[in-house]
């Protein structure tokens, strides 16, 4: 049937057409924004961590009894952890844990000028085994000398040397080599000399939030006393099951004056990074599915009604020689035109909602043309499927039956 005819038919049943268009538009608005948000969340999820997420453990413990000798506790703990089967090595972790900053993020500067911009980075104070626990690969310079490692309580002076990731080196010094340069940590601008550069991994929580996931630095320091913490990073063999978490906890548990807060794979800390956003994306996805179902039901209902009103027309068509397929096809074409109008309207609404969400709720969302095309095709498919059922009924009308009266 010619498009002109279909348009005429649509105009004849204006209100039904309008309702279908409106439903499509609102559904498109909801679905496309869900897709934008989910896509942005997925992009975060898909940032490669370059880490062996199931081979590194974060261990957080708190020493609450002030009379405990922390230094000997740390030594005993590391011994105990390394005695657990399939543990490769353990290091004290003085500042951040992997993807778990335990406080505000750290800043690093390339000089002491007040107006210099800083970079956010993951800041790790580790012992002799630290570099291997994290599996860092040297690109330039050297590892720490044994003499550079310092141990002590909060009053201990900083080691003054640092290994940084290649990404941090680039963000601070551009194409110049960072080796031998001095970098300044935190607002107090504590100077550290760069002795080595390693391949960047996703280590710092604050850095990742600041879209600089691979910025990090390691200092050869075992400094304790910071809010009673005694934390460790542990490397385990490949393919170790969750049971190792319990075994490590048990190894540390029987110490008086200290509690084990958490033993977890880095993978879990990484999951936590995006929890808020992924929950929003999941809920929106749920609402989208409901929107699609509701719209599909609506189209079924409205097309059923419109078909039942036009039973006679379809009978006439059949009597004039139209095949069943042709009758169905004309209904699908009719619906496609409505879907198209609804899509145009819906995309307009989507963009409005997108700006509303960006301005009023701090959500991450990206408008991408291929996503819109995907939503368009999906919406058309759902609506066509919905039309198919009543259309099949309509096509069943036998030619002779309808024409007999009046």
């Amino acid at each position: 049937m010619a498009i002109k005819h279909i348009l005429k038919l649509i105009l004849k049943q204006k209100s039904i057409a309008l309702l279908i268009i409106l439903q499509i538009a609102i559904t498109v608005m909801i679905v496309s924004n869900t897709v934008f948000i989910s896509y942005a969340t997925l992009q975060n999820w898909l940032i490669p961590s370059k880490l062996e997420e199931q081979q590194i453990l974060n261990v957080t413990t708190r020493v609450f009894d002030t009379s405990v000798d922390v230094q000997s506790l740390i030594e005993k703990d590391i011994q105990a952890i390394e005695n657990v089967p399939r543990v490769v090595a353990a290091s004290y972790a003085g500042r951040e844990l992997v993807l778990n900053s335990l406080g505000p993020g750290w800043t690093i500067f390339k000089d002491t000028q007040p107006e210099t911009d800083y970079s956010v980075f993951g800041y790790f104070g580790l012992d002799e085994k630290g570099v291997d626990v994290l599996g860092l690969e040297l690109v330039e310079g050297r590892r720490f000398y044994a003499s550079e490692f310092i141990k002590g309580d909060e009053a201990t002076k900083n080691a003054g040397v640092i290994m940084i990731s290649d990404d941090l080196a680039t963000s601070l010094f551009g194409d110049d080599s960072a080796l031998g340069q001095t970098v300044y940590i935190s607002r107090q601008r504590i100077p550290h000399q760069v002795v080595g550069v390693y391949k960047g991994k996703m280590l710092g929580e604050g850095a990742t939030y600041n879209q600089q996931p691979y910025n990090s630095g390691v200092v050869p320091e075992v400094i304790w006393g910071n809010r009673q913490r005694a934390n460790y990073l542990v490397r385990v063999e490949k393919g170790v099951s969750e049971r190792v978490l319990e075994e490590v906890e048990t190894a540390l548990y029987h110490t008086n004056g200290r509690m084990v807060e958490r033993v977890e794979f880095v993978a879990r800390a990484k999951k936590r990074l995006w929890d808020g956003r992924s929950t929003f994306a999941l809920t929106m996805a749920g609402i989208s599915i409901i929107a699609c179902v509701v719209t599909a039901l609506g189209i079924i209902a409205l097309v059923s009604f419109s078909v039942s009103l036009r039973k006679k027309d379809h009978g006439v068509l059949r009597a004039l020689g139209a095949s069943k397929g042709k009758v169905m096809w004309s209904l699908i074409k009719e619906n496609t035109i409505l879907v198209f109008i609804g899509l145009v309207l819906g995309f307009g609404l989507s963009i409005l909602l997108y700006y509303f969400l960006m301005n009023n709720v701090r959500v991450q969302s990206v408008v991408e043309i291929p996503l819109l095309v995907g939503v368009a095709i999906f919406t058309w498919l759902v609506s066509t499927l919905a039309v198919y059922l009543p259309a099949k009924e309509a096509a069943k009308v036998s030619p002779a039956q309808v024409t007999k009266s009046s």
């Binding site: 708190r62 809920t283 929107a291 509701v294 059923s304 009604f305």
Partner: protein
């Protein structure tokens, strides 16, 4: 009437697919709307909500004039010296209470249970009145213990369950940082959906211990809530979170949250007196160079705070808006389904008319039919909404990475009788109204006209 119901039942069975379609369609819309509106309603209601217009908190801004301080969230907390000045002032109120949030590890001296890390509140006796705290054992500490900063504590039911297996622990001792603290009371705050006392509005955890401020100072328990100083340098120098307490007491670093509870009906008048006093106090202090900002004070009643925190609920508000949208669409669909259904029933209607049923009877039959379908939809909707709330609860726990007190979080994912009733009435009205046109249309079928073919 019985006949009409029977006829309506017949009508239902006439087009079972369309009937099922209508029930599913409405139930989906109802589920989403009930789930989201329950969450939003529960999130923005509070156990002590009735104190909305006579419980106040106030902000006093000592920041430099170039700091951005537009609304209450950005206001610094009270400094020690300002809080002391306020306590000395002769002002009318029922309760004046200060608190700061801290964190420590609680165990027992005999190491018989595993120690737990708790968030606690350094506060005064008045806090329990402000909170209307339901004591299950014991009571608040005495005025004298408060003054002398004795080692006493009120602990939460949660902590009591963990440490003492739920037994009456009044008189027993807990151990914090090597010190013995005597338990004087146990409160059950699990009905409190949010921790409003330190303005964190956290739904994950409430305070698990309350200790007298003077004791907290003596032990220098760290200040882990919101803390800010007049300048960054001062912050670095004072280290207000865990630094020297005497230095903090004289520094311009704020960490205390204040509450004023007034007598009912006297709120406005007494608040005006507070404002006058504060203006005088500020004027005096300005003489010595403090308070240079152009936005110095702010006051919020409990009711206003709950309007303010709607802002944190932006996501929930979006879900709710969408759920209303979708319910609207479901109603439109209902009209479509009913039209299709009654259109298909024209022959039957025509027959009834021919047999003597007038338009009123036809309308009644159809109205009953819609009523039956709506009852079924609402029932299904409620069942699904329970599942929906459960799902949202688990999603929320997932979001908190299971680091939240489930019992407290669950408070938000619950039905509320009033809401359920109002929504049900609303649904019946909405469906009734949207059914009017199809009912009217179907009653226009002329007798016998449809019987020809």
């Amino acid at each position: 009437m019985k006949e009409l119901i029977l006829l309506a039942w017949q009508g239902l069975k006439q087009k079972p697919k369309l009937s099922a379609l209508m029930v599913i369609n409405l139930a989906v819309g109802i589920t989403l709307m009930l789930t989201m509106s329950a969450i939003v309603k529960q999130s923005s209601s509070e156990v002590i909500g009735h104190k909305g217009d006579y419980l106040y908190t106030a902000g006093l801004n000592f920041f430099d004039s170039d700091q951005d301080v537009v609304d209450f969230n950005q206001f610094p907390r009270w400094t020690y010296q300002d809080a002391e000045a306020l306590k000395q002032a002769d002002l009318p109120y029922e309760h004046l209470s200060f608190n700061y949030t801290t964190e420590f590890i609680v165990g027992l001296a005999d190491n018989s249970v595993r120690p737990i890390s708790v968030e606690a509140s350094g506060t005064d006796r008045d806090m329990f009145s402000v909170l209307d705290a339901p004591f299950i054992h014991g009571a608040s500490w005495s005025e004298q213990s408060q003054q002398s900063g004795e080692a006493v504590a009120v602990i939460s039911k949660n902590a009591n369950d963990h440490l003492f297996g739920g037994a009456n622990s009044v008189g027993q001792f807990i151990q914090v940082q090597g010190e013995q603290i005597q338990v004087v009371g146990v409160v059950d705050l699990s009905n409190y959906k949010r921790r409003f006392q330190d303005l964190s509005f956290s739904n994950n955890y409430n305070h698990d211990a309350f200790i007298p401020l003077n004791y907290a100072y003596a032990q220098n328990f760290p200040r882990t809530g919101q803390v800010s100083c007049r300048t960054d340098d001062l912050y670095t120098a004072t280290n207000p979170r865990s630094g020297n307490i005497d230095m903090l007491k004289s520094a311009e670093c704020g960490y205390l949250t204040v509450w004023f509870q007034y007598q009912k009906d006297m709120g406005a008048a007494h608040l005006a007196e507070l404002k006058t006093w504060l203006n005088n106090y500020i004027a005096n202090q300005q003489a010595v160079g403090r308070f240079q900002h152009n936005n110095l004070t702010d006051f919020y009643s409990m009711g206003e705070l709950y309007i303010l925190i709607q802002r944190f609920l932006a996501w929930e508000a979006i879900y709710l808006t969408f759920s209303y949208f979708l319910f609207g669409i479901c109603l439109v669909n209902t009209v479509g389904i009913l039209l299709a259904k009654f259109q298909a029933n024209r022959k039957l209607i025509s027959l009834y008319r021919a047999l003597g049923a007038n338009r009123g009877v036809i309308m009644k039959i159809h109205f009953l039919e819609i009523l039956m379908l709506t009852v079924a939809s609402v029932a299904l909707g409620f069942v699904l909404a329970f599942a929906g709330l459960e799902l949202m609860f688990h999603l929320r726990m997932y979001q908190a990475d299971y680091m939240a007190f489930a019992e407290q979080v669950r408070q938000i994912y619950q039905f509320d009788g009033e809401l359920a009733l109002l929504t049900t009435i609303g649904i019946f009205l909405a469906v009734g109204i949207s059914g009017l046109y199809p009912i009217y249309r179907s009653s226009r079928v002329s007798p016998a006209a449809e019987l020809r073919g």
